[in-house]
Symmetry: D3
Subunit: 296 residues, 6 copies
């Protein structure tokens, strides 16, 4: 093949680059839709560190075996809470320049003991619900469901404190690592269990009771939504399911819309649920066809 002369020389290369760069920059100046200056973004590394510090504080096992006795636990916890406080002050200030940042950070710091209490109910419930789990410690160390729930409970608290963007980033960190996508807005009760978890989606206005168990691939989503005069989606309308206490939903089932799943209901896998389910009701998919309609 004959080589293209125009791009071979250093000069040709420079011209090529220059033309494209000019195009990109001019577009950047004239087209304001996607290129307008954004408000400063939180630092992803620091957001990850905030989550990591919370995990260490809540589950001191992560500090290492040496850290769980006497002064050692004091020093480690003290250092971690202090660094967490410092990072929260800085990152909240980035996204809320006009807010009472110290008050917000203080509220979150004060929440830590409660955060631990609730997460221990999640870990305990996960252990009790899985014959393959060897110990609560194994659950805390290895189970992606616990990781996603930890991130969610942090993100949810920050969202309730009015902090923008940061909760979403914390949720996406868990999503990337676990395949579990819980919107920070979702309200979730104690003793929450997500088993395996890949593909789980929980929407922004979902409300989940206590002692609920979701398997992999379960969606608690929205069906449709209204748009305003500018064709923008109307925000804040309740549009995701309300799930009662003691509900189990098996893998890959889709539950859509502001419907209610009554307490104690058990929903089998691979279902499409768009209407209320009564308390204690048990649903499974219709039997499959075994007449082969085509070669698979």
């Amino acid at each position: 093949m004959e080589k293209s002369a125009s791009t071979h020389s250093a000069t040709g290369r420079d011209n090529l680059t220059e033309a494209v760069v000019r195009q990109l920059v001019e577009c950047g100046v004239s087209d304001t839709s996607g290129l307008r200056p954004v408000t400063p973004m939180p630092a992803p590394h620091d957001i990850g560190r905030i989550v990591s510090l919370c995990r260490h504080i809540v589950f001191p096992q992560f500090f290492g075996a040496a850290a769980l006795e006497g002064n050692s636990l004091l020093y480690h916890t003290g250092m971690a809470v202090e660094e967490l406080h410092h990072l929260l002050l800085a990152q909240i200030a980035v996204v809320m320049p006009d807010a009472d940042v110290p008050a917000i950070a203080a509220d979150f710091i004060n929440y830590l003991p409660e955060l631990r209490r609730v997460l221990l109910t999640d870990a305990e419930a996960t252990y009790l619900g899985d014959p393959a789990a060897v110990s609560v410690d194994e659950v805390i160390f290895c189970y992606p469901g616990i990781r996603a729930t930890l991130n969610h409970r942090i993100a949810h608290r920050l969202l309730k404190l009015g902090v923008p963007l940061v909760p979403r980033m914390i949720g996406e960190l868990a999503h990337r690592d676990t395949g579990i996508d819980i919107h920070p807005g979702a309200s979730i009760g104690e003793s929450f269990v997500i088993d395996h978890g890949t593909g789980v989606v929980v929407g922004a206005t979902a409300i989940i009771g206590s002692n609920v168990k979701l398997y992999q691939g379960v969606t608690l989503g929205a069906r449709s939504f209204d748009r305003d005069a500018d064709n923008n989606p109307v925000k804040g309308v309740p549009r995701h399911p309300i799930v009662g206490d003691n509900v189990v939903i098996y893998s890959n089932t889709t539950v859509l819309g502001r419907i209610t799943i009554g307490s104690g209901a058990v929903i089998g896998g691979n279902l499409w649920i768009t209407e209320d389910v009564a308390p204690g009701e048990k649903l499974v998919q219709a039997r499959p066809d075994n007449i082969l309609r085509f070669k698979i």
Copy 2:
């Protein structure tokens, strides 16, 4: 338990290692099936950098707030395009030693403004389709669907330019981060939306129109395929769905084979679709049984 004497001494350990190493190396020399010298592989780190540079160039928000005005945007864009060009020249040369590498790299560089234009339609459509989205910027920063679509559009362009292996690696980078697995061969129109995305699979010969929305767990796959005389799969046969404009497919639905989903169709979740769907048709799963056939 009595310790095994033979593996305790340093000599024993050395003998053990030596025997296994010899076995592995001899096998490597005689068995050519999986161990034959491969053509040089692209450097994964550089492939990741290529994607990262494209993201910065296309969405200058990623350069940081300081970068979006005047000369600053010029310097950042210029540096990024230059580094991208340099990396493309090097990596394409690795996998296409006999090709007109400068022409291929130049074609890709020239594609950048168009790449930005199309991705902005994707981001805009994602924003308009999600009441939980706060701004287009949030979509660009946080939504895994945008990340996967960005990787795909880069990979698809390189594939059309004849570049081997690199497109697949770019697709797998997105797959690993987002759980969204789009084959670089798939052809996808503007204003494409993937919501949540975990578990989405789009096959190599799929053709997708404009303004299509796929939810998590949707598969656009193949049903079966022919084999040649050597029992190898026959390559290049169209075997994945054609999806029209303005189609919505809800979570976990599987669409298989070279069928056509007509424009404006809405397909509910958890379905198994192996036959054409008419334009504007709306499908949902049959109602579940509520007679419990067994304890779940």
Copy 3:
């Protein structure tokens, strides 16, 4: 907004932190459920390195092109086996302080040639089953299914040798990267194929024959389980499916309980299977409703 005076001064900040830290530490001393000293944990970084070394040894392509001839392959393989041996001795000693660690590590090292043999059957089967695959090398480099299967075969061997915790960590490494969650206890035959893979779950007591292919989102799970007098789940009861040879299961299907899927069965996607499937049987979902019961 008026700023909260109590948290503004350095003293206020210090008092806040101190109070929360005290609460967290005291709770740590009194509440023994989640905070009790744990046995030392394996080092996650070293577990990742163990997997990485196995991958390099089994697939010498990963050493780079220079490493596949003569002495070079010898040096690379020798170094890698030696480092692997060293890391295994150290990490097994952490979790099994009273075991015959050298014998266990030696058993695993001796397993390496067989590990390579079996994984090559997996790679070959994956290549033969995917018209989009360009070569066995591409499969080995890029396909998440191979990565998850490699991790599983390592983890399964270690589990059979009685090693605790480490197998689970190896499985979760693959889960995080690929969305494929195979419990180390599962027994899996040769020529195993997982296509795309996101959302696949295989339970601890599952038994899978040879030449089986699972698509994304397939679950081989448990239905329910008994609890002992203390309300703990009874461990070790077979509760996951037995899958025969030459079975294909399409995307998102859920197979639950100690049922048997007969050899040669083909199970379509999005099904809920809780009863035995006969050898050679072919199942697909019932046709969807096309009467729209509500706006989606």
Copy 4:
């Protein structure tokens, strides 16, 4: 040897640590001399980056060969100046919270072209003065004297702008890397050459003319100084030598006090000079004894 029981148990270890920590902390609270809160310190990493950016801007060779033509040089220089400006604003603000930081940073940025001009005279003079030098580029890349002079000229400018601490840190960076210790206060003319350089010391009030050459181990120091009523050294008194133009001082010579070395003087090595040297004077050490007074 019998082990000391008291430090063996975990409890013993904890007690030990606790007692020492208490002592250290209490001391920290009561003794204010060395432990009092300091003003915030500049970030060492950022100070290093400031120097590195100056080096790249002044000697574009450091950008790499690709960077020296047309737009490429523009992009690289633009990015580097911008990052430098940003870092200066931040670091000066740390040490001068009440100053007109933008004006100070702007002054330094405006100094960059002059900084380059002067450093090129240093590099040229070094090249002309060393038969072992292959090119000016080799001098710029490899010679520690150039590195130390670059750091000095940056530090001296910042000191003259009133910036505290930062100049000293920049000087010490060069000291650590090169063994050349020039106080930022020293005033140094053009075409300055330090050959080899290890052990060179130039004091805070030294004044050096143009075209001066110092060899390794040369000290331009102070002899003694006065103390104030509180026994603190009196600051700011001229106490280091004034060196004229075209002076050469050979290795390890010590020149002390506010004396004058006249232009064109040549001072041999290993001398102790505490009195004025006339212009053009040439001094060497007295001949050694060759009567061995003792065994060496």
Copy 5:
């Protein structure tokens, strides 16, 4: 130039490498002088961390401004002492497998408050002796003399506790960073000042009083030594100077042998001192020749 055929092909390259490797390995097996298995070496990274922790504990300024009040100082100091203790136990065990490691580590930990007290006298003396020093804090942060003295005092204590190799490594860390080479065996009094420091050497049996000041390039060395029957140097013989209190030695002076420098002596620079100096004596170099014997 004609290329050498024998080294061009991959085979030629492999043969070359193999031959040299064989030579190197065989030599390694037969020649035991330099290649014999060594006792395990301390980990350089951990030795560096030990020094760094001591610096943070002794000078809490290094923890950052936030760390100097109340609980914050407690947490930081506690964590640092704990990590230091842990590292000491591990590294001492490497080099003293048969010693009472806990007792040795405990002794060093107990020494920390005294270490701080002495180093503050050094910092204070340095500040008082340098008109260019702005504050004691600047001295602690920036002065290489303080860094070298800190390392020395740590190393000296460990040497007195019988720890091998580690003290030497700690001394060499300072040597590399500062050009100051103090043997851990040297005994040094309070209020010790090294100004600039590059090239200072203090030998293993040197004894230095209080309030001594050494300038750059000063050597306190040995003159000669005896050998034993095997021609090895006789170890442990006092062979370096004894320096009294309040002595000043100017730059580049060499003081050799077991001589005594009396208290209050002042020794000018560039001298060769091999005989006792009386208390209070003041010595300077003989005047230089100003008759040029040759062109310099």
Copy 6:
């Protein structure tokens, strides 16, 4: 203080940066003296790695204790020689694009056994000459003199093979770490000892016999040199000392010019030597004045 308005706004800042950048870039285009495109530079990181690999190969102790027996030594040495060979080929090709790179690299690889032999004589001599040295291993691990000599012997060999720039960079790596500055051109015999070493300088045309010992601060330098018609220094003229066998030179002595130091000579410290020294001659500095001519 009133802030300077012109530099406060983002626009002002952008204008400032732009003006300086323009000046710097234009100067770069017009002034060719210091800014002309350079030949590609070797990668400093790779040069450091080359030295590090040589150190590991020559002193296998650096591979760690496990590496010194049987196959382990073979694997480590093989890997290291192979990587060294690869890096040499690449870096030599950068600086000698037209040379027979494989032949040059092969020559260096073949030199490795001899390099080890000679360096062991240096280490042995260092050990025998220092009563403070505990073992040859300690010398190899800790002594900066050995490190500088290792770098020099590598650099000298490459220089003799005609490789430009790389030898100088290798020498400067040692200079930076040890304060010992040996020009790669210097020819140095076996059993070479540098004690402490900071400030040692050995010039490009120096010739040093066997069993020579230099203390810290010793210079073997040039006195003056001729210039050609263009005022450039005349290259390649012998201008540094010739030092015979068994010579000792004490600290800080300066030896200048193409003079000869006869075998067996002992030269005391702090001397200025510019004339031949006879074999066996012993020189020391004249006694100091003890009449204080001024206050020091």
